[in-house]
């Protein structure tokens, strides 16, 4: 069922054919390009391989934001089915995250290009990448559940919620790595779970060493706490979906 929901979601959101790949790639390429100009030209604060460093934040963040965007509208997108038949709707947010994971996988082409451009060779630390990506996916699933509930409860607040999540990118070392953030801010941004996630990608792909435990465990713990708290609420509320949508 999860595979079917995800495949249908992919087609509904991204269409079919060769243009699909272009749709997945255009956004992360454009975002990294703009941020790269901002950091290296406007702010003149590049650091080590700035394009790759930014891609290590933009690509995982893209998965989270797209899962949220998908989650916010997931019930509306499937409204006709929800109103017509009974099925396990608990899987909808997971399928939202899985749909965007396909696009996320495609956007890894950008990271590959950046590694080539900056002549950063992969090391054995890259073996940690599946673990980092697993935490990233778990984080996206947790936010997809939250987004689905917010889309159900506070339909008017969807754009504000998305803006709040986008703000989290700038409250984490998205544009510049954690090592370039000094003073008290260096400690404060670690409260943001995205910090660990971004730095874990940089550790494995840019710095060539395994991620620090906190970089994986903290975002994973936040994601697990969200899933544990939100899934029972979602399961209870799914009985009301047809009332709100219909």
């Amino acid at each position: 069922m999860l595979v079917s929901l995800t495949l249908s979601d992919l087609r509904a959101r991204y269409g079919r054919g060769p243009w699909q790949l272009l749709k997945w790639l255009s956004d992360p390429f454009a975002v990294v390009g703009i941020y790269l100009l901002l950091v290296t030209v406007v702010l003149d604060r590049g650091g080590l391989a700035p394009g790759l460093s930014i891609a290590c934040a933009v690509v995982p963040f893209q998965l989270v934001t797209m899962a949220i965007i998908n989650g916010l509208g997931a019930l509306d997108l499937r409204g006709s089915i929800i109103l017509n038949m009974r099925f396990d709707r608990t899987l909808i947010p997971i399928s939202s995250a899985m749909t965007e994971t396909v696009a996320f996988a495609a956007s890894f082409l950008l990271i590959g290009l950046m590694m080539t451009a900056y002549q950063v060779a992969p090391t054995t630390a890259a073996l940690w990448l599946p673990v980092v990506m697993g935490v990233n996916f778990l984080f996206a699933v947790a936010f997809a559940y939250l987004a689905s509930l917010i889309g159900l409860w506070f339909r008017d607040l969807r754009p504000f919620f998305l803006s709040f999540v986008r703000a989290l990118f700038f409250l984490a070392p998205g544009l510049v790595p954690l090592s370039l953030i000094g003073g008290r801010a260096n400690e404060l941004v670690k409260v943001n779970p995205l910090t660990g996630l971004f730095e874990a990608y940089r550790s494995t792909l840019l710095y060539g060493h395994r991620p620090a435990a906190w970089q994986l465990l903290y975002p994973a713990a936040i994601a697990v706490a969200m899933v544990v708290a939100l899934v029972p609420v979602y399961r209870r509320e799914q009985r009301q979906f047809a009332k709100v949508i219909g």
Binding site: S4, S80, L83
Partner: protein, 249 residues
């Protein structure tokens, strides 16, 4: 297992915020100035194998809400509903189809959501395309289909599930005459093998072909329950019939 449907004191309640939008009960508890409305209240009836029952009543009387509750799409807030048998439902002119998907993709998705494995659903798709008579447009997006074509596809999907309980809401009205005859024949076959048909709509001549019994719903409660013609007479006499009701053959 004998096919049966029974409702006991069934109630479904809707909460509305200040903008008259439906909110969930959990949200209603923490929001101020929330109003409520019972979509169904104290509805009781029972259906046995071979029954065909029509739900009639003006728009907003609770027909769709009752069908959705029987389908398990809505959960009762009071009372209980017991449904014994494999249910297939066609509860809107959208027929449960996603616009962006093709007929084939919709058939596959609905098959899986209906309980088939992905392999079984793939095998069923060709048969569904043939039954619906839409083979030529089966790979076109459903957004390009007319309401009648959607209803054909939706019905073909539900039929493939070999339902013991078939729930139909106003979809019949979107169908062309040729396919209506097909639906009536298939519905009769469901009843003949011990199944149950519950259909709602405003085309009473069509409902009369499917059902021998009717329930008149008014403001979410059962006003009459009995022989189709008697209930329809009571409905017409009540003066509550909608302008959209079609009674002639």
């Amino acid at each position: 297992m004998t096919t049966a449907v029974a409702a006991h004191g069934l109630g479904v309640r809707f909460f509305f915020d200040r903008q008259h939008r439906v909110v969930t009960p959990a949200l209603a508890r923490i929001r101020r100035r929330v109003t409520d409305l019972w979509g169904l209240r104290n509805v009781s009836f029972s259906l046995a194998a071979g029954d065909g029952i029509a739900l009639v009543g003006p728009s907003g009387s609770g027909k769709t809400t009752l069908l959705r509750t029987l389908a398990g799409v809505l959960t009762p807030d009071t009372g209980s509903v017991e449904v014994r048998g494999r249910v297939a439902s066609l509860l809107s002119v959208e027929a449960g189809l996603m616009n962006a998907l093709t007929g084939r993709e919709n058939a596959l998705l609905l098959g899986v959501l209906g309980g088939l494995s992905r392999r079984e659903a793939k095998r069923a798709v060709a048969d569904i395309g043939e039954r619906s008579g839409l083979e030529e447009v089966f790979d076109n997006p459903v957004s390009s289909y007319s309401q009648g074509m959607r209803a054909r596809l939706g019905f073909a999907v539900t039929e493939h599930a070999r339902p013991q309980i078939l729930l139909l809401d106003e979809v019949l009205e979107a169908l062309d005459l040729e396919f209506r005859d097909y639906v009536v024949a298939r519905a009769e076959a469901v009843r003949a093998r011990g199944g149950i048909i519950v259909a709602a709509g405003h085309d009473h001549s069509m409902l009369a072909r499917l059902c021998g019994r009717a329930i008149l719903l008014q403001e979410g409660t059962v006003s009459a329950d009995g022989d189709f013609d008697d209930v329809l007479s009571a409905y017409t006499a009540s003066g509550a019939s909608s302008s959209g009701d079609v009674t002639g053959a």
